[in-house]
C-alpha cells in the first residue's frame, strides 16, 4: 500500500511538472519577441530622429563651410526625418487599430487598456497642445514685434546719412569740378604747350581745395597730370580704366566710382572738360578723389550690411514664420506620437499582467488548476501574480491529495465490497441457515440456506420485526430466547426446534448468538440453524431397526417351542380330553403363535431390509403394474395415472419401488372410506434433474402432528398394521437417494411426493 501511494505521488509530481512546462509559455515566445522588437524599433527611431535633428542643427551652424552640398544633405536629412516620423506615426496607428479591433472582439483587458491609453494621451496631449498654441502665438507676436520696432526706421535713417555723405562728397566735387573745368578751358591749359602750367594749376587746386587727389586724363584716357595729398603720396595710386572713363555720365555732369584701398575708401568723381559734355565730346577728364577714413568706411559698410540683412529678414518674414510653425508642428507631433506610443506601452505593461491574471482566474473558475502565470512584472502586480500562482499550486496539490485519498478510499471500498461478497457467498453456500437481527429485533440478513430451509423469500421478511413475523408458541419461544440472551451473561443459546413447513415436518437445531460491539453494546443477534430432519429420521430408523431385530430375535425363539408344545399337547391329549375347549385353545395358541411369527417376520424383514440394488429401468410400467393389482378389487375408487413428459430411464430397484408403490397405494385406499380417486402423476424436471411422483388421494388426510411422525415406525392411524408401511417406503426412497414428503391434497386428502434423481 505504501509503495503504491509513493508511486501515485510520483505520478502527480510528474504531471505537475508537465503542466508547469506547458503553462510557462502562457504568452507565446513569438509574441514576446515581437513586442520586444517593437520597443527596440520605436526607441531606435526616436534616437535616430533626435540624432538627425542634432546633425541638422550642427550643419546649419557650420553654414556653407562644409564641403558637401548643403542643399542635398539637408534635403536627405529632412526627408529621412520625415520618413522616420511617418514610421512612428504608423506604429502608433497600428497600435490604435489593434486596440480598436481588440475592443470589438471584446478581448479581456482592452477596456482597461483603452482607458489607460486615453488617459495617457489626454495627459500628454493637453500640455502639448497648450504649449504648441502658446508657442505659435509667442513666435507670431515675437516676429511681429521684431519687425514692428522702429529698427527699420533707424536703419534707413543711418543709411540715408551714409548716402548723403557720399552725395555731399560728390556734390562738393561737382562744384569744384565745374570751376576747375572752366578754368582749364578758359586758360587753355590742355594745350600741349601749357602742360607745366596744368600741372602747376592742378597742384595749386589740390592744395587750395584740400583734395586728396586730383587727376587730369586726356580724351584717350591717359593721365596727363595729377596731384596727391601727402597721405596718399607714398601709396599706390592706380589710373582709372578707359572703360570707366568712357562710361556715360549722368545728367548732373559727374560720375562717382569708389574703391577700397588700405588707407580707406577712395571716392573718385569723374567729370568732363568742358563740364557737362558727353565722354565722347570731352577734351579731357577731371577726376577729384577724396579719401574716406578706414573706420568711417567700415562703419558705412556695416550700416549698409545691417540694413541689407534687415531687409532680407523682412523679406523672409513669412517663410521664417512658416519654418517655425513647421518645425514646431513636427516637434509637437513627435512629442504627441511619442507620448501616445508611450501611453500604449505603459497601458500594455499595466494591463497585460492584469489581463493575464484575469484569464488565469477565469481558467481556475472553470476548474483548470494547472494555470501558472509567468512573471510579468516586478511590482505589486508581480506580487499578486506570485500569490495567485502559489494559490493555484496549493489548490492543485490539495486537489491531487484529495484525488489520491478518494482513489485509496475507492480501493478500500472495492476491497470491502469484495470481502462482503465473499462473506455473502460463504453465507449463501453454507449449509446452515443464517439469520441476523438487529438490536431492535428487525431481520437484517437471511442467507439462501435459511430461505430454502424455511421456504421463505428473504425480501418478504427482511427489515421486519420477528414480533410481526411470528405468532403463538413460536413468538413466545422467540421472546423467551431473547430475554434469555439479554439477561444472561451467556451470549449464546442453543435449542432444538420442530416445525412443520408447508406441511413438512422439519427438525432444526438452532444456535442463537448475541452480537456485541467492542464497547459491549448489544447490536443484535445471529441465528444459525441446521436441518436435522433427515438425520433424526435416519437415527430413528437405525434405532427402530435395532429394536425390531432384537424383538424378532428374542420373540421368535420362544415361538417355535410354544407352537410345538401346543401341537404336541393337541396331538397327545386331544384324544384323551374330549373337550372341544382344549382343541380350541391349542388351536388358538397355534394360530396366535403363527400371528406372532408373522409379526416377528415383519419386524425381521424390516430389520433386515435389504439394501437397494438399482439398475436402469423404466418407472411408468412399475406404477401401471401396481395399479393393475388394485383396479379390479376396488371398483369404487377411480385410479388415474398421468405421465406428463418423457420420463427418462432411472436407476431403480424394481422390486423395492414396486413395494413402495404398493404400500403408498394401500395407504391411500385405506384413507378413502367409500368412494374416491387416487391420482398418480409422474413428471420430469430437467432443470433439477429429478423425476417427481405424486400420489394424491381425496381421503381423510393427515393431521399436522401425524405428518411429523408419519414415516416413523409403529405410527399408524389404522387399527391393523404395525405402522411400518410408510417407514419402509421412506427407507426405499432414501436408498434410491430420493426424497419423500407428505402434503395436504387440496381440497381434501393427502399427497405424497417422491423425488428421484435422474
Amino acid at each position: 500500500m505504501v509503495y503504491r501511494r509513493l508511486h501515485l505521488l510520483k505520478q502527480i509530481v510528474i504531471m505537475n511538472i508537465k503542466r508547469r512546462k506547458k503553462t510557462a509559455s502562457f504568452i507565446s515566445e513569438e509574441e514576446m519577441k515581437r513586442r520586444k522588437r517593437e520597443v527596440v524599433i520605436s526607441i531606435s527611431i526616436i534616437a535616430v530622429v533626435a540624432l538627425l535633428t542634432f546633425v541638422e542643427n550642427r550643419i546649419i551652424h557650420f553654414g556653407a563651410d562644409i564641403p558637401v552640398s548643403n542643399t542635398i544633405l539637408m534635403f536627405i536629412l529632412i526627408n529621412i526625418n520625415l520618413l522616420l516620423l511617418l514610421l512612428l506615426i504608423f506604429l502608433v496607428f497600428r497600435n490604435l487599430v489593434k486596440l480598436l479591433y481588440d475592443r470589438k472582439r471584446k478581448v479581456m483587458g482592452t477596456k482597461l487598456r483603452t482607458r489607460l491609453v486615453v488617459a495617457f494621451i489626454a495627459l500628454s496631449l493637453l500640455p502639448t497642445i497648450v504649449l504648441f498654441f502658446f508657442s505659435i502665438n509667442f513666435i507670431t507676436t515675437s516676429i511681429e514685434f521684431w519687425f514692428n520696432v522702429p529698427v527699420e526706421q533707424a536703419l534707413e535713417n543711418s543709411l540715408d546719412v551714409g548716402r548723403s555723405l557720399y552725395w555731399h562728397t560728390e556734390e562738393r566735387n561737382r562744384f569744384f569740378m565745374e570751376r576747375i573745368s572752366y578754368q582749364i578751358t578758359t586758360k587753355k591749359l590742355l594745350d600741349t604747350n601749357n602742360k607745366k602750367a596744368l600741372s602747376r594749376y592742378v597742384q595749386v587746386v589740390q592744395r587750395e581745395f584740400n583734395f586728396n587727389a586730383i587727376e587730369i586724363y586726356a580724351d584717350n584716357a591717359t593721365r596727363i597730370t595729377f596731384a596727391l595729398a601727402p597721405e596718399l603720396e607714398d601709396k599706390r595710386f592706380d589710373v582709372i580704366s578707359a572703360d570707366n572713363l568712357q562710361k556715360e555720365i549722368p545728367p548732373k555732369g559727374v560720375r562717382t566710382v569708389s574703391e577700397r584701398i588700405p588707407s580707406g575708401e577712395l571716392i573718385r568723381t569723374i567729370g568732363t572738360i568742358p563740364f557737362g559734355s558727353t565722354p565722347n565730346n570731352a577734351q579731357a577728364f577731371v577726376v577729384i578723389a577724396r579719401l574716406m577714413p578706414p573706420d568711417l568706411a567700415k562703419k558705412m559698410s556695416s550700416i549698409s550690411r545691417g540694413f541689407e540683412e534687415y531687409q532680407q529678414i523682412k523679406l523672409l518674414k513669412k517663410p521664417i514664420q512658416a519654418t517655425y510653425y513647421i518645425t514646431l508642428s513636427i516637434v509637437a507631433l513627435l512629442v504627441v506620437f511619442c507620448s501616445v506610443w508611450f501611453g500604449f506601452y505603459m497601458a500594455k505593461t499595466i494591463s497585460i499582467p492584469i489581463r493575464v491574471l484575469a484569464e488565469g482566474i477565469l481558467r481556475v473558475k472553470e476548474g483548470d488548476l494547472s494555470v501558472n502565470i509567468a512573471m510579468v512584472a516586478d511590482d505589486e502586480i508581480g506580487t499578486l501574480v506570485d500569490s495567485f500562482n502559489k494559490m493555484t499550486r496549493d489548490l492543485r496539490i490539495g486537489r491531487d491529495q484529495l484525488e489520491l485519498s478518494a482513489r485509496l478510499l475507492r480501493e478500500q471500498n472495492v476491497e470491502i465490497e469484495k470481502r462482503r461478497q465473499y462473506m455473502e457467498i460463504v453465507l449463501k453456500n453454507v449449509s446452515a441457515g443464517v439469520i441476523t437481527l438487529d438490536a431492535g429485533g428487525f431481520i437484517t440478513t437471511m442467507n439462501k440456506s435459511a430461505e430454502k430451509m424455511l421456504n421463505l423469500k428473504s425480501e418478504h421478511i427482511l427489515r421486519k420485526s420477528y414480533k410481526k413475523l411470528l405468532d403463538g408458541q413460536l413468538l413466545e419461544l422467540a421472546e423467551d430466547v431473547m430475554e434469555n440472551l439479554k439477561s444472561s451473561r451467556n451470549d449464546a443459546a442453543e435449542l432444538p426446534l420442530k416445525l412443520a413447513i408447508d406441511g413438512r415436518p422439519m427438525s432444526f437445531i438452532m444456535h442463537v448468538n448475541a452480537l456485541k460491539d467492542d464497547a459491549g453494546q448489544h447490536m443484535g443477534m445471529v441465528m444459525v440453524f441446521d436441518d436435522l430432519t433427515e438425520l433424526e429420521k435416519a437415527q430413528r430408523m437405525a434405532a427402530w431397526r435395532e429394536v425390531a431385530r432384537r424383538i424378532a430375535h428374542e420373540v421368535k425363539n420362544p415361538l417355535t417351542p410354544i407352537s410345538l408344545s401346543a401341537q404336541r399337547l393337541k396331538r397327545k391329549y386331544s384324544d384323551h380330553i374330549k373337550e372341544p375347549v382344549f382343541d380350541e385353545c391349542t388351536q388358538t395358541i397355534t394360530d396366535h403363535v403363527e400371528l406372532i411369527r408373522n409379526l416377528v417376520d415383519e419386524f425381521s424383514s424390516f430389520a433386515r431390509f435389504p439394501t437397494a440394488n438399482p439398475k436402469p429401468d423404466d418407472l411408468p410400467p412399475i406404477i401401471e403394474e401396481t395399479l393393475a393389482l388394485y383396479k379390479e378389487g376396488h371398483p369404487r375408487i377411480n385410479f388415474e395415472f398421468n405421465v406428463t413428459d418423457d420420463i427418462p430411464v432411472l436407476n431403480l430397484d424394481r422390486q423395492q419401488i414396486k413395494q413402495a408403490m404398493i404400500n403408498l397405494v394401500d395407504n391411500a385406499i385405506g384413507s378413502i372410506r367409500n368412494e374416491g380417486s387416487i391420482v398418480i402423476s409422474i413428471a420430469h424436471d430437467p432443470i433439477l434433474k429429478i423425476v417427481r411422483i405424486e400420489i394424491a388421494d381425496n381421503g381423510v388426510g393427515i393431521s399436522d402432528e401425524g405428518k411429523t411422525r408419519l414415516f416413523e415406525p409403529y405410527f399408524s392411524t389404522k387399527k391393523t398394521g404395525m405402522g411400518l408401511g410408510l417407514t419402509i417406503v421412506s427407507t426405499i426412497i432414501s436408498d434410491h437417494n430420493g426424497m419423500i414428503r407428505v402434503q395436504d391434497n387440496k381440497p381434501k386428502g393427502a399427497k405424497f411426493v417422491i423425488e428421484l434423481p435422474v
Binding site: I60, H61, G63, A64, N70, T71, M74, F75, I78, N79, L82, L83, L86, F90, F93, R94, L159, G162, R163, Y166, S241, D243, T256, V257, S258, M300, S301, I303, S304, R305, F307, E308, E309, Q311, Q312, I313, K314, L315, L316, K318, P319, I320, A322, T323, I326
Partner: protein
C-alpha cells in the same frame, strides 16, 4: 495603414517638392560663331528674374547664375565625344549705400561691372557674350558638333540660418532644360 498608401504618400511629398522648383526659365538667342582663332557662344536666359528675386536682390541678397556649356563631337553609332565642359557664373550684388548693382562675371577678365540701373544689371546677369569655347584648331572640318547649354540659379547667399528656410519655402529657384545647337564645321 498599408504599404500602398505609404508609397502613395511619399510619392505626393516628393512631387510637391519637385513642383516647387519648377519655373519657366528658358535660354534664348543661342548663337555659336567664331573669330579667327576661337569658337564663341552668345546666349541669353529669359524668365529667370521673378518679382521675388528682384525684391531679394534689392534687399542685398547676393545671387549667382550658373551657365553650363558642354561641347561635343557628334558621332554616329557611338557615344558623343565630350570635347569641353565649361561652367561660368554671373553674380549680382546690390550696394544700397551707393544704390548701385555690382555684377561679377567669372568669364570676363575686367573686374565687376557697376551700374545704377537694375535693367542693365539684369541684362548683364542674363547674358553671355562672346564666351570662348574651344580654339578653332581643335575642330575638324566637316565634322558634326553639338553645343549643349543650361542655366540655373546655383546660389543664393542668405545670412545666418536662412539657408535652412529654403528647404521649406522655395522662393525663386530656377533651372532651364538643356538646349542644344548642332552645326557642322
Amino acid at each position: 495603414m498599408n504599404r500602398k498608401s505609404l508609397v502613395l504618400l511619399f510619392g505626393i511629398i516628393f512631387c510637391v517638392q519637385n513642383l516647387a522648383f519648377a519655373q519657366n526659365a528658358t535660354l534664348t538667342n543661342i548663337i555659336v560663331t567664331n573669330t579667327r582663332d576661337d569658337l564663341l557662344v552668345y546666349l541669353n536666359v529669359e524668365g529667370a528674374f521673378t518679382e521675388k528675386m528682384k525684391k531679394a536682390i534689392s534687399s542685398g541678397v547676393s545671387t549667382t547664375f550658373s551657365y553650363y556649356l558642354s561641347f561635343y563631337q557628334v558621332r554616329n553609332l557611338w557615344l558623343d565625344n565630350n570635347i569641353e565642359d565649361i561652367k561660368v557664373t554671373n553674380t549680382i550684388k546690390y550696394n544700397n549705400l551707393k544704390e548701385e548693382y555690382i555684377v561679377k562675371r567669372s568669364w570676363e577678365k575686367s573686374g565687376p561691372q557697376v551700374t545704377k540701373s537694375f535693367d542693365e544689371a539684369k541684362k548683364l546677369m542674363s547674358e553671355i557674350d562672346s564666351l570662348k569655347i574651344v580654339p578653332l584648331k581643335q575642330l575638324e572640318k566637316g565634322t558634326h558638333y553639338q553645343l549643349r547649354a543650361k542655366a540655373q540659379l546655383s546660389k543664393v547667399t542668405l545670412p545666418f540660418y536662412l539657408h535652412y528656410v529654403l528647404f521649406f519655402v522655395s522662393l525663386w529657384d530656377f533651372e532651364t532644360d538643356w538646349y542644344t545647337v548642332d552645326f557642322i564645321y
